[in-house]
């Protein structure tokens, strides 16, 4: 039977540190991808994601078990990634290639290649945005968080999140238009 996040946290706090690996398995992918989209570098994302988990482990006693664990972890990961970007300006080197999608739709190889190219353009355009916008877009649209969860994760008011997201979407569209025109 799958243990709830709260049960796992309770085990960790009771001294069973090995239980923490369950949380790393459960949230590692999402935390890493948040860090990757904010920093734009694989190595940096790896470091930030690991740092986020280690910080979370140290701060487990501060976690409120009445709230979901995911957004709490995402907040730590977002902070670690934004701190990294502020320190090293890592956003100047975006991640360029995408992995092979595990669920390719029933379209031909040509359509798949075009689709892949489109997605790479989206990622590249996103990497040109300011870090705060990247963080908001990542949490909202790639991690499917609600407005309130994004606000909690970024530590900013709900209204500011909506403004950030509105501007981020506009900035993303502005960057994508010349790319799609160039392709056509």
């Amino acid at each position: 039977m799958t243990r709830s996040d709260q049960d796992v946290v309770a085990s960790c706090l009771a001294g069973d540190a090995d239980s923490f690996s369950v949380l790393v398995e459960r949230y590692g992918g999402r935390v890493y991808n948040i860090a990757l989209r904010i920093t734009g570098e694989r190595d940096a994302a790896n470091d930030c994601a690991q740092e986020a988990f280690i910080r979370a482990y140290r701060a487990l006693h501060q976690y409120d078990p009445t709230l979901p664990l995911g957004p709490w972890l995402f907040r730590i990961a977002t902070n670690a990634s934004l701190n990294y970007v502020q320190r090293w300006h890592a956003h100047e080197s975006p991640v360029e290639e995408l992995p092979e999608s595990p669920e390719e739709p029933e379209e031909g190889p040509e359509a798949t290649a075009v689709r892949r190219e489109e997605l790479e353009e989206v990622v590249a355009a996103m990497a040109e945005l300011p870090p705060a916008y990247r963080a908001a877009l990542t949490l909202r649209h790639m991690q499917q968080l609600s407005y309130q969860e994004v606000a909690d994760a970024l530590g900013i008011p709900l209204g500011t999140v909506k403004t950030h997201l509105h501007r981020a979407r506009a900035a993303l569209r502005t960057r994508l238009v010349p790319r799609t025109k160039g392709r056509s």
Binding site: F20, S21, G28, G29, N33, D47, P99, V122, L137
Partner: protein, 130 residues
């Protein structure tokens, strides 16, 4: 392709959401979980080491402080004897150190070693996988 979406997604966001949600997630780097768990395990060990170091060091420090406070003149005389013997090239110097003081110094040294290990065992940022 069916994509998940936040429950409060607004119509104006739908197009951007479709674009960004279609970006496939990247796989975790190899050894990601193991690197974190190694750090977690070492932190647990480090916490234990600090406690042992404190348990060994604090009584020894207290005892040595008490010795200095009550027998400071004897320490000064012993130290003076050693210095005089060294400057006069005399092969012998007389001083007395009781066994408890030696034991306290030994425990303090041991505690310092354990504390030094604990402080160097904390991995620095970015070195967890390298």
């Amino acid at each position: 392709m069916s994509l998940r979406e936040p429950f409060d997604l607004e119509p104006a966001e739908r197009r951007t959401h479709r674009l960004l949600a279609a970006v496939p997630p990247q796989a975790l780097p190899l050894g990601f979980r193991d690197a974190i768990m190694r750090t977690v395990a070492s932190e647990r060990g480090v916490g234990w080491e600090w406690i042992v170091a404190a348990v060994l060091a604090l009584p020894s420090v207290a005892f040595l402080a008490f010795q200095v406070a009550t027998r400071g003149s004897e320490f000064a005389a012993a130290l003076n004897n050693v210095v005089v013997a060294a400057t006069n090239d005399t092969p012998q110097a007389f001083f007395f150190v009781d066994g408890l003081t030696v034991l306290a110094f030994a425990l303090l040294g041991l505690a310092s070693l354990i504390a030094a290990h604990a402080s160097t065992a904390i991995p620095s940022r970015g070195s967890t996988t390298r």
